[in-house]
Amino acid sequence: MNSIIETNQVTKEFVTKRGFLKRTTSTTRALDQVNVTINENEIFGLIGESGSGKTTLGLAILRLIDLNQGKINFFGENIYDLKKRQLFNFREKTQMIFQDPYSSLNPVVTIYKSVSTPLKVFHKEMSEEQVVDKVIQTLETVGLTPADQFLNKFPSQMSGGQRQRVGIARAVISDPDFIVADEPVSMLDVSLRADILNILINLKLKLNKSMMFISHDITVTQYVSDRIAVMHLGQIVEMGESGEIIKNPLHPYTKTLIDSIPVPDPNKKWNTDEIGGQISEYTNEGKNECSYANKCPFVKDVCRERRPDFKEVEKNHFVACVLYD
């Protein structure tokens, strides 16, 4: 299998300044030496809680932010080295699907104009008739039928689920190779999610797209993804085939995460004895320790002394934890 995206030691820091009458600056590592590989014709799931850096990684892969360190290869070429013209070509081949169906469409621009823009910018050779045809065809692929009646609508005239389909249409119309889908269903009603997820799977199966699917919801992620990476405070702590991750989680954080998922089974009532302790907030300040050390029930001294290596414990199953040394 060929890789489409390869990140190498990608690190991104945010600096915040605060303090009372004396200045302190603190650095938060949103991405901390991240190495992931996304293959062609694959949906790669990225899960983590809010603030874990998963969206930052999505933006980095599309070169929408600057990095402090590391490189990201797209078909073997570092996208952070691209010059203006090459960057334009890169933009043509990558796209993004957004979380918020209300904020991802300009309210004063018609559906036709929103969806046709990438086509008009990247394929200037197409005639207006061809553009209209392609827009209609794409809208129908994402289930907006008959497409005609949507072209002249404004986003306010459509439901959340329909808007999200428009967002997908916009992302695929210029035929990109790789798409980042950032929490594409988390703001939709439960009954509408399934169709959107199935459309994404079809993009892979029928149009051979590669995708990074970012979510905080493991159930949803494993439904669409071939492989899953788990992120915690800017670090990838575990990565593997999605079925394997769910059945056989290795990292203590992944285990907690999977244990905490609500399952639609009334026989699995939650146990009220296992009340967790106090919650505290931690950020990755770039210390030389395991990012989960502060919360881990299996924490050892060594966890605070160095960072665990990210190693292949079983075939295609990677984990960063001293328990598997």
Partner: protein, 321 residues
């Protein structure tokens, strides 16, 4: 033995007047909550679940209004209708008898007041002895799983999870009999969500609370609730014990909802429900789910179904039964 409901909602309807249209958010709903129950109300956005919960505290405000119905509460002095209480009594009833954790934890704390102050004012106004207040503040914060030192903080200094715990501490401040949690954990991460919900269940056991969970997440209620109400378009369409509802869903909406959620077992395909919920500002003649229902037949369009007991306290509002 006859059991008396702690809170009994009778035939309640709530409307909102927006832009000259009247939206029927809650439409002739009946509901009972017994002492010690853990009841869930599940529904998608716009189903009226939060509006229904607001009536328990008589908190519907303009542009909404309660069209008809009663909310009977069984207190120390017998049964009273919350909607017809004198303002003074209503003030005493709120929080002391029934309290609530609101969905918007981020915004439901006063930004310019320390946590301590927000616990103190409600305790004092509900008659807690001044000398006991400090100890009680510490006690409630601990119950909610917080260190007492955070009482000196302002809300903006706390994380989302901590704010939501402050809201739990607040909800417990006056030792209520019934606690309503309205999407109390929706904005939180799953790990924190589980910590908070198990804590609530534990508190329910220890303090003999009744709990009402309001959520859009049907998987979640399976793990926590005993009785589940499914709401759709302002009506309760199905009510059953959790086990029955998941093993034998009767209403086509419930069935479709359960088929639309992914599970951890690989290989089961999911499918969405086609169409959109009805426009509640328009008159609906038949069943509100009719135009999305795969089992729809003529009668569904003509007359609205009633919520009927089809045995074993399994209620459903569908012409199929």
């Amino acid at each position: 033995m006859m059991s008396f409901p702690l809170l009994e909602v009778k035939d309640i309807s709530v409307e909102y007047g927006v832009d000259g249209k009247t939206i029927k958010a809650v439409n002739h709903v009946n509901l009972e909550i017994n002492k010690g129950d853990v009841v869930a109300i599940v529904g998608e956005s716009g189903s009226g679940k939060s509006t229904l919960a607001m009536t328990f505290l008589n908190l519907i405000e303009k542009p909404g209004r309660i069209r008809n119905g009663k909310v009977n509460y069984r207190g120390a002095k017998g049964v009273v209708d919350v909607l017809r209480m004198r303002p003074v009594d209503l003030m005493r009833y709120r929080w002391k008898e029934v309290s609530m954790i609101f969905q918007s934890a981020m915004n439901s704390l006063n930004p310019v007041m320390r946590i301590e102050g927000q616990l103190r004012d409600v305790m004092i106004e509900h008659g807690t002895d001044e000398s006991l207040v400090d100890a009680k503040i510490d006690e409630k914060l601990k119950l909610a799983g917080l260190t007492t030192s955070i009482k000196k903080s302002y809300p903006h200094e706390l994380s989302g999870g901590m704010k939501q715990r402050v809201n739990i501490a607040l909800a417990l401040a006056c030792d209520p009999k019934l606690l309503i949690a309205d999407e109390a954990t929706t904005a939180l991460d799953v790990v924190v969500q589980r910590q908070i919900l198990t804590r609530l269940l534990k508190l329910k056991q220890d303090l003999s609370l009744s709990l009402v969970f309001i959520t859009h997440d049907i998987s979640l209620v399976a793990n926590i609730a005993e009785i589940i109400n499914v709401m759709y378009a302002g009506k309760i369409v199905e009510r059953a014990f959790a086990k029955q509802l998941f093993e034998n869903p009767l209403h086509p909406y419930t069935e479709a909802l359960l088929q639309s959620i992914p599970t951890l077992e690989k290989g089961t395909a999911i499918k969405g429900i086609k169409g959109t919920p009805p426009d509640l500002s328009k008159e609906i003649k038949g069943c509100p789910f009719a135009d999305r229902c795969p089992k729809m037949f003529d009668r569904c369009l003509a007359e609205p179904p009633e919520l009927k007991n089809v045995g074993d306290n399994h209620y459903v509002s569908c012409h199929l039964y």
